[in-house]
């Protein structure tokens, strides 16, 4: 298994390189003078000239890429001109807040989604199934940013059960209960859509598995129905749902952009939105790279879990 993980890690390197190329190319797409675009319209001519030299814009595109990549590898993501601090510092600080939010949501949606999917498959065409199906449809049709606003109105404005924004109370707070208190609404909002998707695919996977010959064998052996469903069917369904959870992690990380904006959560999503509107492109670039890299690693972990479950993949 250790050898397998090492192999997968090695295989992730080209993917990460590919990511960096795409990000580099997107930034190269910027119309007009890149230095002015990066520095914004308030840039002094000296700064523009310095940046042009720093970026090596007189060199060919592949050369520029290699220089840029070399800097990245040394941890030099450039400086945010709007915040006047190193991009990497800002990104890492913000990313930890996003991880707390997205991680909680991912756990929530995985557990709820799997549960709802299994229950509705087992009770196919029954009332539970119908209710879950409608809830799932509502869930995947809701704009999460709108749902967030509704929840704020309901729980923060009308009944004042949870705070409307932020990660910690401004005065006092800072401890774990305070964090959880602030985390509840955004985490739930963020989890809604992904829960629907996971529930839906779990249901389909379960139904498909329940028709397999080996389920008939399990029943022919005289196993208890509960055992058939939770040991035999669920394990097989899980193998096909895990990559879906991996992909959902991407949706959750991406969806955090909206939720952080709505709840003013100091994460990387709200940072990106601000950076885009202030044209702080180096910050955007650094943020996108770090989140994408983390996502690649997460998917790798999902692959490993899938391999552990399914001996045929080894």
């Amino acid at each position: 298994m250790a050898a397998y993980i090492a192999k997968r890690l090695l295989a992730a390197i080209p993917v990460l390189l590919g990511l960096s190329i795409i990000v580099f190319l997107i930034m190269a797409m910027i119309p007009g003078d890149p230095a002015t675009a990066i520095l914004g319209s308030y840039a002094t001519p000296e700064n523009v000239e310095k940046l042009n030299r720093d970026l090596g814009l007189d060199k060919s595109l592949p050369q520029q890429y290699l220089i840029w990549l070399g800097n990245l590898l040394q941890g030099d993501f450039g400086r945010s001109y709007a915040l006047n601090r190193p991009v990497l510092d800002e990104v890492l600080e913000r990313f930890s807040a996003t991880l707390i939010l997205a991680g909680t949501s991912l756990v929530l949606c995985s557990v709820l989604g799997l549960l709802a999917g299994v229950v509705s498959a087992v009770r196919q065409y029954g009332w539970t199934d119908k209710i879950v199906t409608v809830l799932v449809l509502i869930g995947i049709s809701l704009p999460s940013f709108w749902l967030g606003l509704l929840l704020i109105l309901a729980f923060a404005v009308k009944i004042r059960l949870f705070p409307a924004s932020g990660m910690f109370a401004i005065y006092g707070g800072g401890d774990l209960p305070d964090l959880l208190y602030h985390l509840f609404l955004p985490a739930v909002t963020l989890a809604v859509v992904a829960t629907g998707v996971i529930a839906r695919l779990t249901r389909t996977a379960m139904l498909e598995v329940l028709r397999q010959d080996y389920i008939r064998t399990a029943r022919a052996k005289g196993l208890k129905e509960r055992h058939v469903i939770y040991r035999h069917a669920f394990k097989a369904a899980l193998v096909s749902v895990i990559p879906v959870i991996g992909i959902q992690a991407g949706f959750v990380l991406g969806g955090a952009v909206y939720i952080e904006t709505v709840f003013q959560w100091p994460g990387i999503g709200s940072m990106l939105v601000n950076a885009i509107s202030t044209r702080d492109l180096l910050l955007v670039q650094g943020g996108v790279l770090v989140v994408a890299g983390a996502y690649v690693l997460f998917n790798l972990a999902a692959d490993v879990v899938q391999t552990i479950l399914d001996p045929r993949l080894r």
């Binding site: 795409i22 709108w146 052996k221 939105v273």
Partner: protein
């Protein structure tokens, strides 16, 4: 096997006389609701220029933030005094146009990439899919953000960004389908018919892929509308004064606490629009997905439903281990009733092997699977008859009692040993599980017993093999494991459904002789389902021949092979080439067996029978005794030479 054949038939029939796809869609209440709402929204959006609406962009600071139901503004006004209703309808127009365009762009490029990658394969596929993987390696909305960041905020740029981000979704889906289709034999056949690659890709494969493209589009369009609205909400999409639903929501957010209606109304509109699209999209998927249509996605319950209209009386004396009387099993599919088994009697005595032989669709497997309630419900049900295992009527027992009997008193061996073993558990786990389901013993004890069982079925190195997963064993070894599992709890009856059909000849010979030896050693009774007279000869003492859901002839193997009394048996034996007799003329049976939802009156074989008489076509043809253990369902049975007229 025959269960699947039966399930496949209605699909054939439906295609000729089925209600149109549109009717199916309308019959689905949710989908129909979605369609109605969606049509309404689209009509209103299209009619926006014709409707008596206020100009959506004219500001009127004096009238700002009017509540809903104000005299001049039904939905109130926003922070700049613009009419919300008017802005809503115009905004919906923009959101719809952007969502649809993005879907079309993503579907076109994604499908093209998927088709080419899947069909051409090799390096091209590798290159294209690596590129797609790169795009997929970004968390969904993040790449769109990066693209918008580079191109600058704006509705068209947001549209491009969302389309690009969705291309991989189409490409991967379509590629998967295309690869499957490209390996199908009809593609090779088209190539051998002289068609060019381009012609094959767009003339042969595309028509088969099109439904999938449509399904994918219908399930993603709602999502794309959501995402473009999201970008606008963040201020990265539509720029003022242009407004779509997302930017209206984004502007309203700043005054959420004071005038919530400004942001709630556009949000509600997005939700209703996307929900109606999703409801409709689900309906489209259900109509186009052949698996849903054939019921392939409905879940079979633990035991076949029993709805008997007649229950025969228990036999006075019990001379058989298993005694099946007048068994009828039906499938109800799309309003049609398929009488897969139409009144079957079987007696299985201790230590004997009874072969049930017939062609596909004859009901042989359904008969076997009915006994322990393993016919999938829906759509199957036991409609009549009884099966006595010693003194218990199996169709009258509780589910729990059936569970106790399954795998202990009556065990099964199935056709394909790869698909019948669980791929994710070791052979040892599956064996011990079977033992411990019926015998109270420790895990260590059960493992020991499992090793003994593998030894019994002549698997070398049993302790080692317990740790193997099914895919690590050869077909023959896997079938031995299945047999070991059937023997785990000293079964009285083993039901074997075509256990050697999926195996090579040399392996088949081994499995057959193993089963022969084990039968002598354990003295169990075996019900052996097959289509092959050669296999029957090798293992069975008696034979029952089935045709169109009924037994047409029974007797000892020797007698039936030497002197078949039913014309069908005779013809069935004669149409098979026999090793060592290459010169023999093959006597084909013309025509096809009747469909079991429309059985003719009288003998089901009459239309294909060379000896048919007028009286064969009316009334019930009974199974007539021809001596001990010998019976035939024919009123003009053959007697050695020619028909008995």
């Amino acid at each position: 096997m025959s269960g699947a054949a039966i399930a496949a038939k209605p699909a054939k029939k439906k295609a000729t006389g089925r209600p149109s796809s549109f009717r199916l869609l309308i019959n689905n209440t949710l989908a129909a609701t979605g369609l109605v709402v969606l049509t309404l929204i689209i009509l209103i959006a299209l009619a926006a220029p014709l409707l008596p609406l206020a100009d959506p962009d004219v500001t009127a600071p004096a009238n700002r933030l009017q509540p809903i139901f104000s005299p001049d503004h039904v939905l109130g006004t926003d922070a700049l005094g613009r009419d919300i209703l008017s802005r809503l309808i115009w905004g919906t127009r923009v959101s719809l146009a952007v969502g649809i365009s993005a879907t079309l762009i993503a579907a076109f490029f994604g499908s093209l990439i998927g088709l080419v990658a899947g069909y051409v394969g090799g390096r091209t596929d590798n290159l294209l899919m690596r590129g797609i993987d790169m795009v997929m390696a970004f968390p969904y909305i993040l790449l769109a953000l990066a693209i918008v960041a580079a191109l600058g905020p704006g509705l068209i740029n947001a549209l491009y960004a969302i389309a690009v981000v969705n291309i991989p979704f189409f490409a991967r889906n379509i590629r998967g389908i295309t690869i499957g289709l490209s390996r199908r034999e009809f593609v090779d056949a088209a190539r051998l018919s002289g068609k060019s690659h381009v012609n094959i890709l767009f003339g042969e494969i595309l028509p088969n892929v099109l439904p999938v493209i449509i399904i994918t589009m219908s399930t993603t369009i709602g999502w794309m509308i959501l995402e473009t609205a999201g970008l606008s909400f963040l201020g990265l999409g539509a720029q003022p004064p242009q407004a779509d639903l997302g930017s209206m929501l984004g502007e309203g957010r700043k005054i959420l606490f004071t005038s919530p209606h400004v942001s709630i109304i556009p949000g509600l509109m997005i939700f209703v629009l996307v929900m109606s699209i999703n409801l409709f999209g689900d309906g489209v998927r259900d109509v186009l997905d052949p698996r849903l249509k054939s019921g392939a996605l409905s879940r079979p319950v633990a035991r076949t439903a029993v709805k008997r209209t007649d229950v025969p009386e228990a036999p006075a004396e019990q001379d058989a281990v298993l005694d099946v009387k007048a068994l009828r099993t039906e499938f109800e599919i799309g309003g049609d009733i398929y009488k897969a088994v139409g009144g079957v009697d079987l007696k299985l005595r201790q230590g004997e092997c009874l072969g049930v032989i017939g062609e596909s669709g004859s009901g042989k497997s359904v008969t076997a699977m009915s006994i322990m309630g393993l016919v999938p419900t829906p759509p199957g049900r036991i409609a009549g008859g009884a099966a006595w295992l010693e003194h218990e009527d199996l169709f009258a027992l509780s589910d729990e009692r059936i569970r106790q009997l399954r795998g202990s008193a009556v065990s099964h061996v199935f056709q394909d040993p790869l698909s019948t073993l669980h791929p994710l558990y070791t052979v040892g786990y599956q064996l011990t599980e079977a033992i411990m389901a019926h015998q109270a013993m420790s895990h260590a004890h059960a493992t020991e017993k499992a090793a003994k069982l593998l030894e019994l079925v002549r698997i070398p190195n049993p302790a080692e093999r317990l740790k193997a997963y099914p895919h690590e064993l050869s077909g023959g070894m896997r079938q031995r494991v299945c047999i070991a599992m059937a023997l785990a709890n000293d079964a009285k009856v083993i039901i074997a459904d075509e256990p050697t059909t999926a195996l090579d000849v040399t392996v088949q010979a081994q499995i057959l002789s193993l089963m022969n030896t084990l039968q002598d050693e354990t003295n169990t009774a075996t019900l052996f389902i097959t289509h092959d007279f050669g296999v029957v000869s090798a293992i069975c003492d008696r034979i029952a021949v089935m045709y169109a859901g009924r037994i047409v002839e029974t007797g000892t193997t020797e007698e039936i092979l030497a002197n078949p009394a039913h014309p069908y048996t005779r013809k069935l034996i004669d149409c098979v080439p026999v090793l060592g007799e290459p010169g023999r003329r093959l006597d084909a049976i013309e025509g096809r067996p009747p469909v079991v939802n429309r059985l003719p009156a009288g003998c089901a074989f009459a239309d294909r029978c060379p000896y048919v008489q007028a009286d064969c076509r009316s009334g019930e043809i009974p199974l007539t005794e021809l001596g001990r253990d010998r019976a035939v369902r024919c009123i003009h049975p053959l007697t050695g030479e020619g028909p008995n007229v």
